[in-house]
């Protein structure tokens, strides 16, 4: 069996004084798959993503990325793993306001290994932002900032892209540009996991996982209705598209 890009095994996350943000989730995401994680607010989507990127740790269970159990990594090891394997795209973009777009992209290179301006410019060109390289984030529109954020996420050539509401702050025209970038990344064979409320983006993905109260409520492959249910009985079904 091919090694999965992501494997969740009985993963729970409980915050002090709160209900469980994630409750015993198990799932497997093969390499190169484009998955949309959806669900209402408070369903555990962001927690799911934070456990994937190693910024947070599960209360119980195991998260494996590309075969590495990231729940067992020390913070410094998690940082190294993250910069080698994961590209992060944020809803709020989180571009450093006092660095230019190019420098923001080079920042990820700097934390990874060494800066390469030519490569950073190429990455900006690939998302249609080459002409804005020397601008500060405050001089960009939301869509441009998101594309710069995506360029930063891609510059170290990560195998997995994790995106948290990448179109949440964008208008329709910019949304379409971002969709196109994701399509291109998927065609390039990258594993993409997108947390989103956006139904269009959810439908564009290969597979849609709907969370509710920290559990997988729906796990659907778009187009053919294939479902892998792992919520309560941990047994996959191939029938209705609902667990």
């Amino acid at each position: 069996m091919e090694e999965a890009a992501v494997t969740f095994t009985e993963v729970s996350k409980e915050y002090p004084g709160e209900v469980k943000a994630l409750d015993g989730i198990s799932l497997r995401i093969p390499r190169g798959e484009w998955v949309a994680v959806m669900g209402p607010s408070g369903s555990g989507k962001t927690t799911f993503l934070n456990l994937l990127d190693g910024l947070d740790r599960p209360t119980s269970g195991q998260v494996r990325l590309s075969g590495t159990n990231i729940t067992g990594l020390a913070p410094a090891e998690a940082a190294v793993f993250r910069r080698e394997n994961i590209g992060l795209v944020f809803q709020q973009f989180y571009l450093i306001p006092y660095l230019t777009v190019l420098e923001n992209v080079m920042l990820a290179q700097y934390f990874h290994s060494m800066v390469d301006e030519r490569q950073a410019r190429e990455m900006l060109d690939s998302v249609g932002m080459g002409h804005r390289a020397s601008h500060l984030p405050s001089q960009l529109s939301g869509g441009e900032q998101q594309r710069a954020c995506i360029a930063r996420a891609l510059v170290n050539d990560p195998g997995i892209i994790l995106a948290d509401e990448p179109t949440g702050n964008l208008d329709e025209a910019n949304e379409e540009k971002v969709f196109e970038i994701f399509r291109e990344l998927h065609r390039g064979g990258r594993t993409i996991i997108v947390v989103t409320h956006d139904r269009v983006l959810g439908n564009l993905a290969q597979r849609r996982i709907v969370l509710n109260h920290g559990r997988i409520a729906e796990n659907t492959y778009n187009g053919n209705g294939t479902v892998e249910c792992t919520e309560s009985d941990r047994q996959p079904t191939l029938s209705s598209g609902k667990c």
Binding site: D53, D56, R82, R83, F90, Y94, I96, E103, Y110, F111
Partner: protein, 385 residues
């Protein structure tokens, strides 16, 4: 890249950078001020204390030292011009005094002649009722002499001399209190050259002096006095120098107390400045929790983030030290000019002290800020919670 990040972070976050720099510069300025005062204080204060009176007495080396206070037989003539010249070279104050005995109302009275300006400079602690004499024909009476003879300021008196049989008319312009034996005497002004002319020289209407001595105000404490004595000895001035140890000891004690007070003040100021700097640096870090969380999300190790914050603090500390040194030197000039009437020289040691303290405080605060920043989970910071 780190240089670029730090540079841009400082230059493009003007408000917080200016605020942090202001606190650091204040810290550096105070360190510079106190360092300058500490380095120069002893010299300047010693000089200042020297204006409070004599710390050595010079008398003829053939005359017993107690002959100063009780003028007796005249010794060999000391070279007072040489004494004055050497004293001026040593930056010391000097007044040459000549002692005679006259009679007033038929009773003997000790009469001292000296240059009035030099005497005034050497006896600023005298409390004078009336005024000091300024010209020949005027005089100043000690409090006890005034009581014995019933002298009041503004009154005119005739002092009679036995050998030769002459008299001097004098108008007493003031009565002084000194707290010592000078209160038994009457002081008459003569020109500086007359005062240093020696025992054989006669002053208008007066017999030759029975004794001559000089009061010195030498900077540099006992060492300074010893040095001057050696110089006078080498020049065969015919004098002996005797330090007034009680005064020197008092000066030393005063200087020690002032230095201790300065040290406490510096400590207090440094503590307060450190608190201010820490608050500014911590505010700077707190404002950037999301940014630091992003750095971690992008794969920066905690160590690198600490290094980044320390580097930024060091840059701010160095800039603050440079600005503070200029400000502190300016303040030190103002303080020393006002208090000691002397300007201080900017010193490398002051700058190094300011640099070490300011960068040290900035690094400590930056380290504390980094520690606090890294306690916040990046996931939480990036959620904006």
């Amino acid at each position: 890249m780190l240089v670029k990040i730090v540079g841009n972070s400082l230059l493009k976050r003007v408000r917080i950078t200016v605020w942090t720099l202001a606190t650091l510069s204040t810290c550096a300025a105070l360190v510079t001020l106190f360092a300058a005062l500490a380095v120069d204080a002893e010299k300047k204060m010693s000089g200042s204390l020297r204006r409070l009176g004599a710390n050595a007495v010079v008398y003829s080396d053939s005359e017993p030292s107690d002959g100063v206070t009780e003028p007796g037989s005249a010794g060999t003539s000391p070279k007072w011009e040489t004494v004055k010249e050497s004293a001026v070279r040593a930056d010391a104050g000097v007044v040459v005094l000549q002692g005679r005995v006259g009679t007033l109302k038929g009773k003997p009275v000790a009469v001292i002649t000296s240059d009035p300006k030099e005497l005034s400079a050497m006896t600023p602690y005298w409390v004078v009722r009336g005024r000091r004499p300024a010209s020949p024909g005027e005089g100043l009476a000690g409090k006890r002499a005034a009581a014995v003879f019933g002298i009041k300021e503004g009154s005119e008196w005739t002092i009679r001399w036995n050998r030769p049989s002459r008299e001097s008319r004098t108008r007493i312009t003031g009565v002084f209190e000194s707290g010592d034996e000078d209160e038994d005497r009457i002081f008459l002004p003569v020109s500086s050259s007359t005062a240093t002319a020696g025992a054989g020289a006669a002053t208008a209407g007066m017999p030759p002096p029975l004794t001559s001595y000089a009061l010195l105000s030498v900077p540099g404490g006992e060492k300074g006095i010893e040095l001057l004595a050696e110089r006078l000895d080498a020049r065969h001035a015919g004098v002996a120098v005797k330090p007034l140890r009680q005064i020197l000891h008092g000066e030393q004690k005063t200087l020690e107390k002032i230095k201790l007070l300065s040290a406490f003040a510096l400590l207090a100021v440094l503590s307060l400045s450190s608190l201010g700097v820490s608050a500014a640096v911590l505010a700077r870090v707190a404002e950037r929790q999301q940014e630091l969380a992003l750095f971690q999300a992008l794969g920066a190790k905690r160590r690198l983030i600490v290094l980044f914050l320390l580097y930024e603090s060091a840059v701010l500390g160095t800039a603050g030290a440079a600005a503070g040194f200029l400000l502190g030197t300016f303040l030190a000039q103002g303080v020393t000019l006002r208090i000691f009437q002397v300007a201080v020289t900017p010193r490398l040691t002051s700058f190094l002290a300011a640099l070490a303290v300011t960068v040290g405080v900035a690094l400590l605060a930056g380290g504390a800020g980094a520690r606090r920043a890294l306690k916040v989970e990046p996931a939480i910071a990036l959620r904006g919670e």
